[in-house]
Every structure is written in C-alpha cells, then in structure tokens.
Amino acid sequence: MSEALNILGLKKSFGPAEVIRGVDLTVARGEVHAVIGPNGAGKSTFFNLVSGAFAPSAGQVSLHGRRIDGLAPEKIQQRGLARSFQVSNVFGNLSVFENLRCACFKQSGAGYAFWRPAGSVKRANRRAEEVLEMIGLRALRDSPAGALPYASQRALEIGMTIAGDADVVLLDEPTAGMSNTETTQAVSLIRRIAEGRTLMIVEHDMGVVFELADRISVLVYGEIIATGTPDAIRNDPRVKEAYLGEEAA
C-alpha cells in the first residue's frame, strides 16, 4: 500500500455548525501535500481532526491502512503521525535542548523513568542533538524556549514535531508571520524534513506552497473542491473562482 493517509467522508460539527462537511483525501507515501483555502475554510479544524485534538463527528482517517480516527492524540503520535502548531506551542520554561529531548522520550521509551538521570537516555540525547543541529539552533541550546525570537521558536516547533521519528508530519502554517529571509530558511528546513517522510502542510504563502508541494488540495467551506498538481490547481477554474480569483481581485 502506498497511501500514508487515507481520509474518507470526514465530518465535524460544533453544535449546529458543520465546519468540515465530508472531506475525502489521500496522501501518498513520501509526498508533500499542501492544503490551501481561504480564511475560515476549516483548515485548522481539519488538522485537529486528523491529529486527534478533536474527535470527528463522522468519517474515517487511516494511517498506513489502520484506522486512527477517534484515538487520543498521544496514541496517534505513537503510531507515527506528528503535528506542529500554528501558534508556537513549546514548553516555555524549559531550554531548547530540553524541549527537544522531551519530544524524544516517547520513542526512547523513557518518559516515565524516575530511576535514571535524563542524561543517561542515550538515544533521546543523541536524537535531540541531531534535531538541534538540523533546525540550526545549536547556539541557543540552553536558552529557555519561551524567550526565543519568533522565527527560532517556529523552528523549534518543527523540530519538536519531527524529533519523535514520526513518518507522517502535519505542519500548520510553518512560515506564518515570517520575513522573507526567515521564510527561505524555513522552506529549506521543510525540504530537509520531507526527505523520507510524508508531509501535509497548511500554508497561506502561495509562493511556499507552489515551491514545496507535490500535490495541492483546496479546502473551501469544509469541502475539498479540487486536488491536483500545482500546475493543475493553478489552472483550475473552480479554484480560481473560489480562492485565487479572490486574491487577484
């Protein structure tokens, strides 16, 4: 099976308001799949459903062919799907290194250990150092995460997401609020992450989307109105009308 994620008839209502109204989506193994859509289309809710933050009202989500809908977030993470957050969501008083190491404990099977020093969990320490190097924060290793500059905090956010060896990674607006230089750096970081992983990205910056994505899905009012390669999406009249046209106007 070459599908990393298979989403079928996914629905979510908050009271009478149906926010996700039947999403069908397949993400192939190893691809970078972008989800775009106007504000309020339900992109964040969609991510919350897939990652387990909310339970769906109806529909299925399968990860590598196994159902994960309705599972708790930590169970979904243990099966190999991790996500980042739109608003940086780190452990503010812990150092950058400690944030990464905490994110590695699960896969080292050590988070509940109280009989050994954290420094003796070789695998978690090694992996945390690796990720630290990868996201380019070595110089800020011992700073408290809450005091980092914005772009570094975003990088740490992504680092914590991938630290646990997940092979399917959901990134929620990884370049939101960044300057041009910072965005360029973030894009090259995402490229490196994409090697050997399946990525699903929600992103507002069309430049970033068209540069990174293998395929794009357009989410409008809780429904996917089109899925295809960047070129196909660019030329799709429905997309132009619903989304790109709006921006051009």
Binding site: P73, V90, F91, Y112, A118
Partner: protein, 413 residues
C-alpha cells in the same frame, strides 16, 4: 568563569550542606534550639515534596497534608508495633529499627496517593485545587470517625526508645534525634533533587508548562501528573514519618487544612521556581513560627504579612531573589545591580519596621506591653504623638527609598 572550579560547582551545595549539618550541633546549645532545628528538618522535606507538585508539576494542591499526616500515622503505628513486638521478640516488627520509620511513612504516603490520585490528575488548575481541598477536609473530618486509627482529638502516642538498635543508632539524647533528622533530610533532599534530573522529572516540568502539547509528543498528561502525585505523596509521608519519630505523637491536625496551608506558605515564600527555594522558605517560616510566638502575640500576623509581601512584591520568592543575585554575579554585572537591590531591601526593612511598630503599639493599647518591645529596651508610650510621628517618618523614608531605588533599577534594566 574559572575552568578549574567546574568540578566543584555541582558538588559545592552538597558539601556545604553536609558541613553545616556536621558543625551545627557543635555550635548550638540547648534542647530548645535542637527542637526547632528538628522541626525545620521535617518542614524542609514537607515543603520540597509540596513543590514537586506545585513548582515542578504545576499542580496547586490544598490537601498535601493528607499524605504527610497519613505517613506520620503509619510511622507511629509501626512504632507501637515495634514496641509490642519487643516483648516476645517475634515477627517482622521485632527486627525493624525505629531509625527506618521514615520509610514506612514514605510507603504510606505514596500508597495513599496511589489509591486516591488517579481521578484527581485528569486536570491541573482550579479543578485539581478544589478536589484536593475536598480531600483534605474529607480526611480530616473522617479521621474523627475512626478513633482506633487516628486516636480521636488527642491523637496516637508512642515511644521511640524501642526496637533493635543498629550500629549504635539510638534515639535517646536530643543529639541522637538531631543526627536522625540530618540523615533523613539529606537523603530526602538528595532524592527529590535527583528526581528533577530524571526523564519523569523533566516531563513533569513539561506538563506544567504546556499540558496540551505533551499529548502531541506522545504522553497523556494525566499519567505524568499521577506519577508525580504519587512521588510527592511519598516524600510528604517521609516527612510525616520524621515528625512521628520527633514528637512521638501524631494528632489529626497533621492531616488538616492548616498543615496543607503551611506547605504552600513555605514553598511560596521560599520560591517555587528554584529547587532550594522551599528549603529557604521552610527555614524562615519555621523559625518565625517558633521564635516569634515567644516574644509577641501577633506572630501569626507577621508570618501572614511576610507571605503577603512575597506574593505581591517578590513573586519569585526568596530563592528567586538569591538566584537573581547569583546569576548577576556569574555574568559579572552584580556591581551595577546591587545598589538598586540593596535600596529595595532597605525600603522593605524601613516599611517593615514601621508596620511592626504600628502593630505592636496597637497591641499594647489593647493587651498591655508586649515582650518584643521590652526585649528591645523600648518603652514607647502610645499616647505620645512623638512615637506616631516616628512611625510616619519610617513609612515615609521607606516609600522614598523604594521610589529612588526603583528608578535606579529601571535605569539599569
């Protein structure tokens, strides 16, 4: 910093503490001082165990005394069992030295936390605070219903001069009890410090900072809170076991809200964010509680004022202040900051003097002259306007120094 000193840095606090513990009995005299030191030792363990919940794990508990008290009850009943087993010399307890009773306290505290904790740990914050408050009241009230276990209002008595003696470790003289306290305090403090360095200790900081994110790195926050809750209950019980040996009596008061409040008070005054903070708080609050009551009727009021002042003006507590100075010293800019800080301390001192004088004078009007004033050789007359003018001068001077030093600190920030 000097490289050759780097090996010394992690060892220094332990070496200095051990040195202080060894020299203390040579310096102090009198059983009264020993008895205060023993209470300080118990409270250090109790306050640190409380901070495992609040400072390290982000759980505000109003029922921590339950585990302290149950540990104490477990230890005192075990002490009685040792005493009874001593007559015929049979059974497990006949071979259990009183010296190891804090371990019984630990087991009782941890077991109690294990039994009741799971439903508590679903949420932190207000829900956790309210539930623990309820638990505290429930257990304190329930203890009156089982006089055979809790001894009714009078409590349970025992005698620590029983059981086998290992390596000549008796508990006969005040100095013997001192060594017992020093040993167990050092063990407990080291164990709780080591806990902060383990993966679970780090994860408990993570659950404090951001419980929601924790789920997405693979851990349900509830499991982590529960484990920390059990550990904190265990160490509170260990403190309770020390108390049982120290007093040879345990009363239901040790389970109640006042005792829980004492833990919060000591931890907050000392500082929640620094490991040694609660130890500083435990020393200060215990010494204030035991000494001030000899000199003034308003002693509880003073402890309350210290708490209020720390919460309002130094939320980092005393430990937070010490840490600030230490960091400035390591950065090498202590000289630039010190005048501002000393000014702030002077302002606090002046205002505190003004407050103390006011309170003592008011007490004098209603109760007659207090010992504190007599001790200082002062015979102020509340009817004289000069006295009140002096107090107003103290307040004004304190306010002025506070303004000036505050501006100085702002200029350096």
């Amino acid at each position: 910093m000097n490289e050759s000193l780097s090996w010394w840095r992690p060892v220094a606090p332990w070496a200095i503490s051990a040195l202080v513990l060894v020299t203390l009995p040579l310096v102090v005299a009198g059983n009264g001082t020993f008895s205060i030191i023993n209470v300080v030792a118990i409270n250090i363990v109790f306050a640190l165990s409380y901070n495992m919940l609040l400072g390290q794990g982000g759980m505000l508990s109003f029922g921590h005394a339950v585990f302290f008290g149950l540990g104490a009850y477990g230890a005192i009943h075990a002490m009685n069992l040792i005493g009874e087993a001593g007559y015929d010399g049979h059974g497990f307890w006949a071979f259990f030295p009183v010296y190891l009773l804090p371990l019984v306290g630990f087991a009782c505290g941890a077991l109690a936390a294990l039994v009741v904790g799971w439903p508590f740990c679903r949420r932190a914050g207000t829900a956790f605070a309210m539930i623990t408050l309820g638990l505290g009241e429930l257990v304190a009230a329930g203890s009156q219903m089982f006089p055979t276990v809790f001894g009714g209002e009078a409590g349970v008595f025992s005698n620590r001069m029983v059981g086998p003696v290992w390596f000549g470790l008796e508990l006969a003289q005040p100095a013997d009890v001192y060594w017992f306290m020093a040993f167990w305090t050092l063990v407990a403090v080291f164990a709780m410090w080591a806990f902060t360095r383990t993966p679970l200790g780090r994860m408990s900081n993570a659950v404090r900072d951001n419980a929601d994110r924790l789920q997405f790195i693979g851990y349900p926050p509830r499991n982590l809170r529960f484990l920390v809750f059990i550990a904190a209950g265990g160490f509170a019980g260990l403190g309770g076991g020390m108390a049982a040996v120290n007093y040879e009596i345990v009363t239901p008061e040790s389970l109640g809200l006042l005792t829980s409040g004492l833990a919060l008070l000591m931890a907050a005054v000392g500082g929640l964010a620094v490991f040694y903070g609660p130890m500083v708080g435990a020393i200060l609050v215990t010494v204030m509680n035991s000494l001030l009551s000899d000199y003034t009727d308003a002693s509880i009021l003073y402890v309350g004022l210290v708490f209020l002042a720390v919460v309002m003006f130094a939320p980092g507590g005393l430990g937070g202040g010490i840490e600030q100075v230490r960091l400035a010293w390591r950065r090498g800019d202590l000289g630039a900051h010190l005048p501002g800080w000393l000014g702030g301390a002077l302002a606090v001192l002046l205002i505190a003097l003004g407050l103390v004088s006011t309170i003592e004078l008011v007490y004098q009007i209603s109760h007659g002259r207090d010992k504190l004033a007599r001790l200082l050789g002062l015979e102020p007359d509340p009817a004289s306007p000069l006295v009140w003018l002096g107090i107003i001068t103290l307040f004004a001077a304190g306010y002025g120094v506070a303004r000036v030093s505050g501006r100085y600190r702002e200029a350096r920030a």
